[in-house]
Symmetry: C2
Subunit: 355 residues, 2 copies
């Protein structure tokens, strides 16, 4: 999409980028259209290669006749460092484990590089490291390499953590954003928006206080069970920055298909629903860190759903829509009152520093 | 080493860490003893596994009966972003390419995650990305995955870049810090300290102005040629943070050997020498980004040296010392006047944000 379109987020003023925007703004880190444009312009052109062009959560790399591997990387800058249900450490491990797993690969190894701010309490670092350890253990991955840099006071917000994951891609697995086919079912693994609202709540901003926990979780075991149940899972994606709306728009473009969602089937916790109403947010755009969208052949959707619902990270899984041939590259939401509205990508930034 | 010893850096006040230091200081990012202690305490214990324990620049990972791979990761926080001979982009690519290559592996793929500060000029980002592209091209690696996060003004210093490299380790190659053997020759690929002094000069700090360029370079081609010339290269290491002194101390400990250097054989540019004299620095502790130390069987040292001197990144290569059985875990420098002094690891921080 080259046109600049207005976002569909109610109650928000999303800045429309200038044609020749010359400085980085928070909107460039949103996961939405501004970030997409920046990445296309600043990175994809100079670095162009098939892995980047595929636009998936991870890249498939070959090792010269040996195994196919998947690598994926993410920087984590969440603020605050700790919140209900998680912290920057569990986020850094689970986020990257999930990106590797969304390619259908089995995550095996992680690397972690830390940027620490002078003055950070070592006790705080220790808590984060322990949390990474626990998440890595649950996910069954080893953290095999790391790096630590220290920057002066004010040059980082406590700490930033970049993680890179390496996973093994089984033969014949071909899961990716371009594989959705008309007729496929769209399955969401659970409730939307828990992570974003939990982080926002931890900021104490906007007078919001909830007991809501982030959904941060490693989803590789869930995915392994789904893949055992069906060989016709075409797309797996975790709706992080930019939320489900942005993720589905990416898939619609990559696969050149239409997506039709049924609003009444999308699981949302009452606490998220009321927080969003209060703040003027749309849960479809809120970041999640322990949820996935699976697009699978309709014939297999019942058995995929069954294994998901039997798993602790998928017991609220639901079929939330279908892939259609038309309208190509668009996401439509059939609302509760029966009308259809276009669900666009996130334009600017809704919640900075959410992951 | 559990004891806390004074550093041997003349003219510098290196803070001796308190036994129960509770906050991160710039010294924790130095590459020296404080960083080593932090890593041991904060990361190695909770994450303990053989790859981390090996303490090399990269980790060898297996892919379940397929190829042996090497992964390595580094965060880059150099300040300023641009300096003579390089920038944060060339540093981020070459630094990680070199860490993978120092394991004897052939670097193939990189990932890059960016933390961008709000307000950064996109033109600046574009220059850095172009620079990464040029370095990746020279090194023959592909940048296959990336991530971009944006933090608010003041929460990063322009940008930080974390890169992770993946390389293929040929069969039977076993290069690592624990492989040095008494009698081995120690070969340095060129002059010491160029990078550190070039960055310092770009800061305009300390009244220092030089035309000296950083030595940033991808060393994988040089290493490939060295490995073709000899199958008895036991250790390869790039003396980055903490400089040659710290790197050799690490090797002395890992291999449980003594190292004896001959001061008169260590190549140092006159500009680096005078800058160090002026500032009270010891070139042995200054960071390099395009140099390597090779420890090889004495019988092969002449042919290794020959291919190094024929290479553009090794034409000033020299044998600078020998591995000895004693004094175990110590580095000694035979000075120009014939005395011996102990060369210890860097203790605190000499030049923060050098890489």
């Amino acid at each position: 999409m080259s046109e600049i379109v207005k976002p569909t987020i109610e109650g928000l003023s999303c800045p429309v980028p200038l044609p020749h925007q010359e400085r980085i703004t928070v909107g460039h880190g949103s996961g939405g259209k501004m970030m997409h444009d920046l990445i296309t312009k600043a990175f994809m052109k100079p670095w162009d290669n098939p892995s980047l062009r595929a636009g998936n959560d991870g890249s498939v790399i070959s090792t010269h006749g040996h195994a196919r591997l998947v690598v994926s990387t993410d920087a984590h800058v969440v603020s605050p460092l700790f919140f209900l249900g998680g912290d920057i450490g569990s986020l850094a491990v689970c986020g990257t484990v999930n990106d590797v797993a969304m390619m259908g690969a089995r995550p095996l190894y992680l690397t972690a590089s830390f940027i620490l701010e002078e003055g950070l309490e070592i006790e705080t670092l220790a808590r984060v490291v322990d949390s990474m350890c626990a998440s890595a253990k649950e996910a069954g991955v080893q953290i095999v390499a790391g790096d630590t840099k220290v920057v002066g006071k004010g040059s980082a917000d406590g700490m930033y953590i970049s993680t890179t994951g390496v996973g093994l891609l089984p033969d014949r697995v071909n899961i990716g954003g371009a594989e959705a086919k008309p007729g496929d079912a769209i399955i969401l693994s659970g409730t939307l928006g828990d992570h974003g609202i939990a982080v926002l709540s931890a900021r104490g901003a906007l007078g919001l206080e909830t007991e809501l926990e982030s959904d941060i979780a490693p989803l590789n075991d869930l995915i392994a069970k789904m893949m055992s149940a069906s060989s016709r899972i075409h797309v797996l994606r975790d709706p992080t920055r930019g939320g489900l709306a942005t993720t589905l728009n990416e898939i619609a473009r990559q696969s050149n298909v239409g997506i039709v969602l049924d609003e009444g089937t999308i699981p949302i916790k009452p606490a998220v629903d009321s927080a969003c109403e209060l703040l003027g947010f749309d849960p479809l755009y809120i970041a999640n860190e322990g949820k996935l969208v699976a697009i699978a052949a309709e014939e297999d959707s019942a058995k995929v759903l069954e294994v998901m619902r039997a798993h602790k990270y998928g017991h609220e899984a639901a079929v939330i829509g279908r892939i259609a041939a038309e309208p190509a590259q668009r996401v439509l939401l059939k609302t509760l009152i029966g009308s259809h509205r276009v669900v666009d990508v996130l334009m600017g930034e809704m919640l900075p520093r959410i992951c």
